[in-house]
Amino acid sequence: MTAAPTPIRVVIVDDHAIFRSGLKADLAPDIAVLAEAATVEEAIAAVAAHQPDVVLLDVHLPGGRGQGGREVIAGSAAQLATTKFLALSVSDSAEDVVSVIRAGARGYVTKSISGAEISDAVRRVAGGDAVFSPRLAGFVLDAFGTAEVAVEDELDKLSARELEVMRLIARGYSYKEVAKALFISIKTVETHVSAVLRKLQLSSRHELTRWAADRRLL
């Protein structure tokens, strides 16, 4: 595991106080919550002031120009090198999820996730890896297509191995189980997932942010 010896410094951004306190109580002891924020402005200020390792970021936030989590990431662009964002949402909408990932979040988990799982996800993100929930993996597969197709830009398609990894994650496998099933190391799985994340963020294929609407045409 990628747990750091010093506690991972975290800022929680969510507009629901109940959820924030619940999450705080759920997080493992090696994760220290520096601050909480409830709006876009508060979040940007808190991130700038505390320079946390990880920001747990709700996708839907009041304030700002109404773009929620995306705006927080955009507003914290200066910290993006040191601060990682992990998106949290109850939303099922592909547009919400993919847009926040494309804004720069390193992962996405649903709010119904357990305390242990979220602590694990925080450690993973802090260690520089990407965190994919089964649903996000499903979105990725849907967006990039599951078949091997010839495309000009390497960013526009997933390699066979990446496809396999995404499929297993969508099936509910943990990284460890993926590694075991594919006879590769966890490190390799993490590399594949990070590569997929990078493609998801950089690819212009189908204008991925709008793809939620487009995909109904497929």
Partner: protein, 424 residues
């Protein structure tokens, strides 16, 4: 006799006569005859008609001016702005669109006839009516009518749907009307004086217009903003009402149920999950997958399993497929597998559906204690018959992999027609 006068929807021109007839309790024909007759008294009928047209709202306007007009029944807006209303409004506009050309043509013909009559009548009386003044006057009137028709349209539809107001046709009509009026005025002015005089007067009038416009612009802007705000507020209120109605029907009921069964965690979880699912469906219905048969049905059976056992079933779907009879078998097999998962696994069950070019794959995974597939007793039909047997009978395959970390059921159903020989 109705208390308030509205212009009729069943109209020839603008519905004034119909509305007046309804208001006074007289037959429409009589009102129309009187109106036409009055036209011959120095055009009194025409003026009266135009006046009523401008001032009397159309019957359908009641909803749009509800901001000031509170309706008879207690809470008007909640009812007035139910979605069904939108459909009605839409209907009005379409019927209107069909009606306008007819009404407009009749106005044109009628107007021409009236002008001709006046010209003939005037000629007999020895009035020196020159065509040079008559035609510009005609053009001005035509332009004004065009612009006003637009206003009429705007007033009725615009309040409900501002987007409609900016249709090219509407802008064209308004612009055409204004252009006609200006052209008419110019011709009249030009006819009465020299060109040099006309230019100075044009410049002077433009200056006056610009000055007045400058003074009035902030006001107009303010009114426009207030109007927009009010409209936005009303739309928000509509949405709020709709959401409130939905929440009342679903969430509040569920919360009440949860409070009642607070002593049973299993019930609470189940109720919460069911409500969550229902709410998600409602919120994300627009961005949901096209309702292809398979995913929808798998989701339905997963929801059923969730309700039965209170464990979450997460469905992730990629692509979708339409499957007939064999689809039924697949869905039934999935159902059995999911039920087994929630029953014996006792944890969250992940379902992944992938419908690709090769066929449909479904994976059902739980994190329960697992079991040894080989040692399943023969009398346990669940796995052997309902899952494996069913898939095989329909040309598919089923695999069950179980370990201490959980169980995964893998179902594969190839597409029927092509490439049956390369069955995986």
């Amino acid at each position: 006799m109705s208390a308030k006068m509205y212009r009729s929807q069943q109209r020839m021109v603008a519905g004034v006569c119909g509305g007046l007839a309804e208001h006074l309790g007289i037959r429409v024909g009589v009102v129309r005859a009187v109106m036409v007759g009055a036209c011959f008294f120095f055009g009194a009928g025409l003026v009266f008609y135009g006046w009523l047209w401008l001032l009397v709202p159309l019957a359908g306007d009641r909803t749009s001016s509800a901001g000031t007009l509170l309706d008879d029944d207690g809470n008007p807006r909640l009812k007035l702005f139910r979605p069904a209303q939108g459909a009605v409004v839409e209907d009005n506009t379409t019927t209107r669109r069909q009606r306008i050309p007819v009404g407009f043509r009749e106005v044109l013909i009628g107007g021409a006839l009236v002008i001709a009559a006046i010209a003939i009548f005037g000629g007999q009386q020895g009035w020196a009516l020159r065509l040079g003044t008559l035609i510009p006057l005609l053009v001005i009137i035509l332009g004004a009518v065009l612009a006003w028709m637009q206003l009429d349209n705007t007033r009725r539809v615009g309040l409900l749907n501002a987007a409609k107001m900016n249709t090219p046709m509407a802008m064209l009509r308004l612009g055409g009307g204004v252009a006609l009026v200006i052209a008419g005025v110019l011709v009249i002015v030009a006819g009465s004086g020299s060109w040099a005089l006309m230019w100075t007067s044009v410049v002077a009038s433009l200056a006056v217009l610009a000055g007045v416009g400058l003074v009035l612009a902030p006001w107009a802007l303010k009114f426009w903003r207030e109007f927009q705000e009010e409209r936005a507020g009303r739309i928000r209120e509509t949405e709020r009402a709709e959401i409130a109605a939905h929440l009342h029907d679903s969430v509040l009921q569920t919360l009440a149920l949860i409070q009642k069964s607070a002593s049973s965690p299993a019930d609470v979880t189940r109720l919460a999950r069911a409500q969550e699912r229902e709410l998600r469906e409602w919120i994300y219905q627009d961005s949901a997958h096209s309702t292809g048969a398979l995913v929808e049905r798998v989701k339905a059976v997963c929801a059923e399993a969730e309700d039965l056992h209170g464990h979450a079933v997460e469905v992730v779907a990629v692509g979708d497929a339409e499957l007939g009879e064999r689809g039924n078998a697949l869905v039934q097999a999935v159902r059995e597998a999911v039920l087994n998962g929630v029953r014996h696994g006792g944890t969250t069950v992940s379902v992944y559906i992938e419908a690709g070019a090769q066929g449909v794959d479904v994976f059902v995974k739980d994190r329960g204690p697992g079991f040894d597939v080989a040692t399943v007793p023969a009398d346990r039909l669940g796995v052997r018959e309902s899952v494996v047997g069913r898939m095989q009978r329909n040309g598919g395959t089923a695999e069950i992999i179980s370990s201490a970390d959980g169980t995964e059921v893998r179902l594969h159903l190839p597409h029927e027609k092509p490439a049956t020989e390369e069955a995986k």
